[in-house]
Amino acid sequence: MLIPDNLFYTKDHEWVKIDGDNAIIGITDFAQSLLGDVTFIDLPKIGLIIKQTKPCATVESVKAASDVYAPLSGEVLKTNNELTSHPELVNKSPYESGWFAVIKMADETEKNLLMAPAQYKAYIESSQKK
């Protein structure tokens, strides 16, 4: 299970890459492996204000549709249009070409609610033991 060192994570298996005032978001390798083949992604509209922990996108796999929760609050600046025709990029490259959106962070302190890589790793391991 890939958990890059330079990212932050949520309990719902989204990742965040901080880039100055902006944040790039997506779903983790663990999330994509649970979902299986991703077949469709409903991305937020550019300009939309998303709120931390609230649904901001939908990912569909063959089996089901699942909500993606905003890891941070902010305005959507850019979304990954490639995912419209190639949703499988989320399976193949969840942290690189499978990114979802870039947001302009509204509140820096929200980062404190995110997990560091080691924490996220431990979180996955404990959830798998259940």
């Binding site: 299986g36 469709f40 939908t58 063959v62 089996k63 549709a65 399976n91």
Partner: protein
Amino acid sequence: MDTSFCSELVCTPLIDKHKELGAKLAPFGGWLMPIQYNSIIEEHNWTRMSAGLFDICHMGEFAVEADLEKSNLDNLVTVNLKVMPLGACRYGFMLNEQAGIIDDLLVYRISQSKWMIVVNAATTNGDEAHMRKYMNSATRLENISASTGKLDLQGPRARDVLNDLIGGDIHLRYYTFGYFDLLGEKIIISRTGYTGEMGYELYMPNNKIAQLWEKLLADKRVKPIGLGARDTLRLEMGYSLYGQDIDKNTTPLEAGLGHFIDFDKEFIGKPSLVKQKQDGLSRRMIYFTALSRRSPRHNYHLFYKDEDIGSVTSGSFSPSLGVGIGMGYVGRELIPGEEIILKETGISIPAKVVNKPIYKNGSAKCEVKNAYTR
């Protein structure tokens, strides 16, 4: 994967094989079964292109002895047993008095008075109880599910694979079966399936099912396929899944399966079915394709011109067509080509009504040269 819940669920005899292959396992019909090995889409496409191997050990089998002169077995199923040739398989139903579907099933005619009836996993015990309640003393039923393993081999290359395994030519027409020597057993192989592709169902005693699984998987044309792809394959064909598309509250006519009913014979539920035919249907099954990759799901509402006319029973992404597909019951007549919208809170999927099969290029019925019916 924690399999301690095997105590509540029945584990397929191939559970260790599935674990070795890294399958994701999940409960289905009271059994712990493989859902996928790697990717549902890849497994689906492999079955349409080559040959997929499915562990179907969960399904139930009854061995029935019934001389139709004295037995009332014919009355328990919609299949017209009296006109079935030896070596034929027929699809049909067990109905209750209201014509609700107790189960959908396959009947095999083994001899003049011997039959095998293949039923769904979750309904096996209920079916047995129903049959024992209605059958007369000239009917002998044995539930052989626990000792009978079943593998499905499906795909355009399935015949070549089986020919190589048997060392001969399998010669089976669509919906017929025969006995074949394999691993020291005489086993039933039928030219049937649930994928829309040319293929076979193999019935092997449970103690040798792992050996058969290994032998078939040793062929490079064959890959293991989980129940996830089995579901997308059958949905592309518009085949009903018991418990989801059909159940005790639906009739074969509502489910669009009336052509499998022989009204020239008597069977439990027939008067209700005849009455429904005369009165007209209050709902019927339709099939549809979405205009995008976005896929409808079970229980999404079905709208026609702003009117809520029904709901989706099965919905999924179609790997063969690259769009969402599904089926569901509606309260009015719709013709192919008509536009509908599938809705759920915050989701609205435009779709159009189509005839089944939704996927048209299946190889299931392609005839084999020199094939014969016994």
